[in-house]
């Protein structure tokens, strides 16, 4: 197994007109906290409600309104920090980030500036070639989400819905440790898996509960290594921020486009302007965000309506004890049970898949279960456009099928047919096998009888096989047909060899 690398390898360079370039990527992920109510008010956080129907006067910035913190959101942030193997800061402060925008009714966002609740941590990401990379986490802090706009209702107006205003977000900031679009996508995927495992965020990017701001810069070969050694950002290129990437599919594309855009600019003699950009998936390009171009002076200062957030060390330990097994640990355990690194990572990517696998593998060979899952179940799910949570045949039922293969009740081929039957018609596999007589025939008498029938019907072939022993396979096929496919192939082979006096395979 590869030990996680600190600095990524050469094959991730991009070729420009004038030479090779390194990409450097950092990410700020906004993950909506799973909680019933908002961070500082008692309004609901449910998705998809009627406009402005989940808004407290606090969320709407009305006169005299004051924030009161939701303890669950604090807990979820700590839980996430622990899942990122990060330092939990027992004392943190809330600051006001001041700016004007119609989706920000208070005229400031309550966030955390210099003293966040969670400090440094890391995320391990697995890449396709089996390589493992450590991506550092700089910090995690709690902050309020802003409202939403509708821009297409009237030509000269925008409509503001404050349902989302005040919902708790965890802003997770990575260190600039990603070196390719593949790594960026893998990081986001892993982070999403971790928070879903922890139950602290549902990671539904299409509902906006997870969004990524991706920082991309390019530099000449060697620049990144110098940066890692010195910590001096001057060795890196000017970075641009691609804001609000809200789809896993687009993240790699956006990074690729932006990196190439920057290379083109620099090779063309220009300089990169530090700016915020948006990825337009329809045309596959990033473009500058007009509204964010002016320099922002956020005038951060500690929010005087709140007191410092103080955590009890025992309470944090208590949360640590309730953490579920996380993807990395689960992967290691699956590998110890005999799965390959690749197979294990595929299974742990989604907690539901891993859980399904574990139930599936109960009391049977781990590899056999993994193969069954990969080859039979995932294929059918894909074909039918279903996710693992919608699988029509339960893990327990699939487990029964595997057991029947293992104890030779049915053959592998019959098992696939059986799965097709219960997939579309439902039912208990063991019952179906009984009802439809799908049991494998191992009874030597029946096999001998079938062999006699085939021999009797094909005397010429019997002569041929004496000269060409390989024709035995044809006989096996015939005997299988004769028994309606239920004979155990190995038993048929053995019986045929004896009956036809075939030599042992060398």
């Amino acid at each position: 197994m590869n030990a996680p690398k600190e600095i990524s390898v050469k094959n991730k360079l991009l070729k420009g007109e004038t030479g090779e370039w390194e990409i450097v990527i950092g990410m700020e992920v906004h993950a909506q906290v799973l909680s019933n109510a908002k961070l500082f008010s008692g309004a609901s956080t449910e998705f998809g409600a009627e406009p402005n129907s989940q808004v407290s006067f606090i969320d709407a910035g009305f006169p005299g309104m004051l924030p009161v913190i939701n303890g669950k959101c604090v807990e979820q942030a700590v839980r996430t920090g622990l899942g990122l193997k990060a330092k939990i800061n027992l004392r943190s402060l809330f600051d006001r980030k001041n700016y004007f925008y119609p989706d920000l009714p208070q005229g400031y966002q309550i966030s955390q500036y210099k003293d966040p609740i969670v400090g440094e941590g890391e995320v391990l990401i697995d890449l396709k070639d089996g390589e493992s990379i450590r991506v550092g986490i700089e910090r995690l802090h709690l902050e309020q989400d802003a409202g939403k706009f509708l821009h297409d209702q009237r030509p000269d107006s925008s409509f503001v819905d404050l349902n989302r205003s005040g919902i708790a977000l965890m802003e997770i900031v990575s260190k600039p440790h990603m070196r390719s679009s593949e790594e960026a996508a893998a990081f986001l995927k892993k982070l999403r898996a971790i928070v879903r495992y922890l139950g602290t965020c549902d990671g539904n990017m299409d509902e906006g509960s997870m969004r990524a701001d991706v920082n991309v810069s390019v530099c000449r070969v060697g620049g990144y290594e110098k940066f890692r050694q010195t910590g001096d950002f001057k060795h890196l290129g000017t970075r641009c921020e691609i804001k609000n990437v809200n789809s896993m599919r687009f993240i790699a594309q956006a990074v690729e486009y932006e990196a190439r855009r920057q290379i083109e600019v620099v090779e063309g003699g220009g300089t990169i302007r530090q700016e915020t950009r948006l990825y337009d998936s329809k045309v596959g390009e990033t473009r500058s965000m007009r509204s964010k171009e002016e320099a922002h002076d956020y005038r951060y200062f500690p929010d005087p309506d709140l007191l410092p957030l103080e955590l009890d060390a025992d309470w944090v330990e208590g949360i640590r004890k309730t953490l579920p097994e996380l993807p990395d640990e689960k992967k290691a355990r699956f590998m110890a049970q005999g799965l390959s690194a690749y197979d294990a990572s595929v299974l742990v990517a989604e907690r539901e898949l891993a859980d399904f696998y574990e139930e599936l593998a109960t009391g049977v060979d781990a590899k056999a279960a993994a193969n069954w899952l990969n080859n039979e179940i995932l294929g059918r799910l894909n074909r039918d456009g279903l996710s693992i949570t919608q699988v029509p045949v339960s893990a327990a039922a699939n487990n029964a099928i595997i057991r029947m293969i293992t104890d030779k009740t049915i053959s592998g081929k019959i098992a696939k047919d059986l799965l097709d039957i219960v997939w579309t018609e439902g039912g208990d596999p063991r019952t179906v096998v009984e009802a439809r007589g799908m049991k494998q025939v191992t009874d030597t008498g029946a096999i001998d009888a079938a062999i006699e029938a085939v021999i009797a019907a094909n005397p010429d072939k019997v002569e041929e096989v004496k000269a060409k022993p390989k024709l035995a396979a044809w006989f096996v096929g015939q005997v299988m047909k004769q028994t309606g496919g239920k004979a155990n192939p190995a038993a048929v082979n053995a019986a045929l060899k004896t009956r036809l006096n075939l030599p042992d395979e060398g």
Binding site: A60, G61, N98
Partner: protein, 493 residues
């Protein structure tokens, strides 16, 4: 009629309980007085109809024997408290015709105790001022005039409408808010009592925020006993305010008993200001004598960072205000400027037209001191000075139980007399601002008149959450001062 309205809150309370007067009678008397006192401009919103309805409901409860702590007592509310269903303006154009759909905790406490609302009193816009001259609804005039003049004087600020209403017998008592002296200073220049409780004693929920770490609601009354009664109902632990303190509310009225024998009264030497009028100093010394005569021990103490308090305040308060006032943007409520072509113009015009000059000045100061490059030199430094000022008080309180100081650097001044230079106006708070910075309780008590008949007050400062001792000491000053003066009624229509 005039007998009814000149009662103290305690007297009215006893009369109502004894059923010698009804709430409706009492309320009607005040409603009438308010209508006749319009030249004072003490009220932005007169709520006569609502008041009478509340009085009738109260009388019904009294008949059923359900008598709350303030049952049937008519009060005036500073128009900074959000009152559900009644327009709330913060004396600003920018709130437009905002009618709050919620009630502030402090006023809810008053209504739960059976009190009656007469109306919303005038104030400096967003509580920023010391003379009630910055209100978008016109200045308030002090019911007091100098004996030798017909000139209109200011009632102090920012709670000028409340102080005028109390002094002119337009209510039994009023609520105010105090961020740098806005209860104590107006009370002092109108010859009445004004109490700012410890920060966190009264909830800030539903009070239009000025400077969050300094604002505190408090009672403005005719007597110290009335202030004790009001505070007991106004104060509460409020889960809706994260800075509200979880301490039980004592029976302040009961705790007034006991006298002040052995009480150590500190006299901070830095409050002796060069060039202050002789009358102020003389009254201060007299105050010490009064307390000594009742058994107190007078101790000289030092609060070395006193002179830095005002400049510290004028960094911290505007900084917090600049952020608190960002929500007034013409989008969710209040004034929206017509003719804006884009969102930036909407904000700039609405706020430029909606906020008055003093508010704009303070927003600009606050924005500047928080901006990049200045935060450390100004805001951060000012917050450290607060720690030093608080530490000064803690050290002084090792040697004494309360502090005695002048309340204001002079009596009420003429309308327009100090508006030319903002700093001159800011100096009105020189004795009061330290108390807000340290989060301590302070009270001003009427102590005497100037040579030309204008009231002067004395201030007492107490330990955190020790309003009981503070009120007892204040009552001792009140007893000795025997200030029985009321302004000659020049304003009645």
């Amino acid at each position: 009629m005039s007998d009814l309205i000149s009662m103290t809150l305690a007297e009215a309370r006893d009369a109502i309980r004894a059923k010698t007067i009804s709430s409706r009678e009492l309320t009607a008397a005040f409603v009438g007085a308010i209508e006749k006192a319009r030249p004072l401009n003490a009220f932005i919103t007169e709520a006569g109809e609502k008041a009478l309805a509340m009085a009738e409901a109260s009388d019904k409860r009294i008949a059923e024997g359900k008598i709350g702590a303030l049952e049937g007592l008519p009060l005036a509310i500073k128009d900074l408290f959000c009152t559900k269903g009644t327009r709330t303006t913060a004396a600003s154009k920018i709130l437009g015709n905002f009618v709050p759909p919620y009630e502030s905790t402090v006023t809810q406490n008053l209504w739960d105790a059976g009190a009656v609302m007469l109306g919303k009193t005038n104030l400096d816009e967003f509580a920023m001022g010391s003379s009630n001259e910055t209100s978008a609804f016109g200045p308030v005039f002090n019911p007091w005039r100098a004996s030798n003049s017909n000139a209109n004087l200011v009632p102090g600020g920012s709670s000028g409408g409340s102080s005028a209403a109390v002094a002119a017998d337009l209510c039994l008592a009023a609520t105010g808010t105090d961020t740098g002296g806005s209860i104590r200073q107006p009370a002092a220049v109108t010859g009445r009592v004004g109490l700012k409780p410890t920060y966190g004693r009264c909830s800030r929920f539903g009070i239009v925020a000025f400077a969050s770490s300094l604002d505190q609601a408090g009672p403005m009354t005719k007597t110290v006993k009335d202030a004790a009664i009001m505070l007991r109902t106004m104060a509460s632990m409020d889960p809706k305010d994260s800075t509200s303190v979880d301490l039980p509310v004592p029976d302040y009225e009961k705790l007034l008993e006991g006298g002040i024998k052995g009480l150590r009264v500190g006299i901070p030497k830095e409050y002796r200001i060069d060039g202050a009028p002789a009358e102020i100093d003389a009254l201060w010394s007299k105050g010490a004598e009064w307390l000594k005569a009742q058994g107190a021990e007078i101790v000289e103490v030092s609060l070395p960072h006193t002179k830095y308090a005002l400049p510290t305040y004028y960094i911290v308060a505007p900084a917090e205000a600049s952020s608190n006032l960002a929500r007034y943007d013409g989008v969710k409520f209040g004034y929206r400027a017509p003719g804006a072509h884009d969102i930036t113009e909407l904000y700039e015009k609405s706020r430029g037209e909606g906020f008055g000059a003093e508010v704009q000045r303070r927003i600009l100061i606050g924005t500047y001191v928080l901006s990049a490059g200045y935060y450390d030199a100004y805001y951060s430094r000012a917050q450290k000075l607060r720690s030093l000022i608080k530490r000064d008080f803690e050290r002084a309180f090792e040697l004494c139980d309360v502090l005695l100081t002048p309340a204001t650097p002079g009596p009420a001044f003429g309308v327009g007399a100090k508006t030319a230079d903002p700093v001159e106006m800011y100096l009105q708070d020189v004795f009061t601002v330290t108390v807000n910075l340290a989060g301590l309780p302070g009270i001003s008590v009427p102590a005497g008149l100037t040579a030309n008949g204008l009231p002067l007050g004395l201030q007492l400062i107490g330990k955190a959450f020790d309003e009981a001792t503070l009120l007892r000491a204040a009552q001792a000053v009140e007893t000795a001062a025997d200030f029985k003066h009321s302004p000659a009624k020049w304003w009645s229509v």
